[in-house]
Symmetry: C2
Subunit: 319 residues, 2 copies
């Protein structure tokens, strides 16, 4: 077992693109280690060059396969590509479920591609904070593109996809009603709509539906001056990926405009808020730990109500 | 337009089972109106009789149909049944997507069944708080059973299902790999495993897989002394529902034991923490609103890092 290298000492190594140091820093960010914070703070100030793509879609939409194919395509253009996959966690074990991500093992042979699966455990807001820290670390390590992949169900997961420069929402043909309805929560955040599995006969219907929705202006996208494209892809034969990369690059160019600056500002604002909430809850949880069992017992016995007892807990913890 | 009735004045009407008053109180809890808090506090202290069943499962598992069938079955036994469905929200419009819940309209004809779809919008922790408030309101209104239905993807959604007396996790045969993997995050919280769509030929495989998993002890459930049953149901012909109701009732009886008290205490502890976090973030967000844009601009310009600027924001807001 090697000695613990302080996080700040890992920075120059990560900056030189050394994968083991990058991986260690991400693990520490994920664990929320206070020791790592000064390093993550330094890294943030050094980072800011990478283009961050958020890709989200319902379970079963073929996101992982698609992300792998897109990464390979972007990689072929020259730059290094990082992937941060946000997976649902087990509430008990806290482990990432799709940790090995079988489909991506081919890609993993290429040193210019780094894939990282994040557990979504931890305190509220912790997932967003850790994911964005991981993006910075890859950014520092010279990854020109960083893809954040989220499952697209759950408020936090959708918000993270939104906290990227270019948000791609994946729809798949032929999913059931229940899944389609859930998808509706994500449609409005798309800078680019993607329809996966375009080899399927019903894919055209999904493409048409999305185009019609955009024409009706119901979900015209987060920025009025950007015409949200609808792109169909087929991951296994590469169809549509040229168009997708083209759309991503076009959207990337808009980031230098006035409205692009607004987008960056709104990402920063989200991040500031999440980091502050995270720190706040962390402090509160520590400060209230000793008092909580007693108040929980009173609540359980209905000797007091949630609001009054929570206020008591807050007052005691923040005193 | 009728005059605004103060929330505390709605309590006796809700207690008499008047649906419009119950609905209004739930809407106010959902909106997080400070005016409603004293009323919700009073309601909590009056409530505590209902048996709360959490039902969760991945999208496409047939949860809604199953919940409707279970509610009808419980209703036939005599008591009133309330359903609180937690739906993913649109991050922009904040509306509930499955608001009309077409499949449940038949049930809605029965005045002894009340179905409410909650939006999942709002501040962190707000969803859990509002959902549990809604459960109390139905409890006060004489609903003997309250079912909380959540989509089972996303940490908050799984946590809410866990904050019930009896947690039922729904698995469906024949879902894809991606969906099965996500499901893994929920398996450990089950008091009862349910396999839907038992008319399908591959349902038996799913039943066997779950039983084997339990035998191996990998996910033996949250309480060691409770033998987690695996029940197969078929919503359209009613097969298996007798067994399901039986399992729910058996589990309900365990709540009066020592370990059942622990379960109630852990629900109360979760609720105390969520309510406190909710109040804390609400206060912080208000107190920091004026300062946030300036700090977000500095963060966007990388003139400062998330941790330092968030600490600044916290210090200023809590001063």
């Amino acid at each position: 077992m090697s000695a613990y290298v302080p996080s700040t000492a890992l920075i120059p190594r990560a900056e030189a693109g050394e994968i083991p140091s990058i991986a260690r820093l991400i693990s520490r960010a994920e664990a929320g280690l206070p020791e790592a914070r000064p390093a993550l703070a330094q890294i943030y100030k050094k980072a800011g060059r990478a283009h961050v793509i958020g890709i989200t879609g319902v379970p079963g939409s073929g996101k992982s396969t698609l992300v792998a194919a897109l990464a390979a395509r972007l990689r072929a253009l020259g730059g290094k590509v990082g992937i941060v996959a946000v997976d649902p966690s087990s509430p008990y074990s806290g482990g990432a479920i799709l940790g090995d991500r079988i489909r991506m093992t081919e890609l993993a042979q290429d040193p210019g591609i780094y894939i990282r699966s994040m557990a979504t455990r931890g305190a509220m807001g912790g997932m967003a904070r850790a994911t964005l820290d991981a993006v910075d670390i890859l950014d520092l390590g010279g990854f020109e593109t960083v893809i954040i992949e989220t499952v697209g169900v759950g408020q936090d997961e959708v918000e993270i996809a939104k906290a990227s420069h270019t948000t791609v929402v994946v729809s798949a043909p032929g999913l059931g009603d229940e899944i389609q309805a859930i998808k509706a929560g994500m449609l409005e955040i798309a800078d680019i709509h993607l329809v996966s599995k375009c080899d399927r006969s019903d894919a055209n219907r999904t493409l048409m539906d999305l185009k019609q929705m955009l024409t009706l202006g119901a979900h015209s996208g987060p920025r009025p001056e950007w015409q949200v494209p609808v792109v169909g892809v087929c991951s296994f034969n590469g169809q549509g990926f040229e168009e997708l990369v083209d759309a991503i690059q076009k959207h990337q160019h808009t980031l230098s405009t006035e409205s692009g600056k607004k987008r960056r500002l709104s990402i920063a604002s989200f991040r500031l808020q999440k980091t502050a909430e995270n720190l706040l809850i962390e402090r509160f949880t520590q400060a209230s730990a000793a008092l909580r069992p007693k108040l929980a017992e009173r609540l359980s016995a209905r000797d007091g109500d949630p609001y009054t007892l929570a206020s008591e807990l807050l007052a005691a913890a923040l005193a």
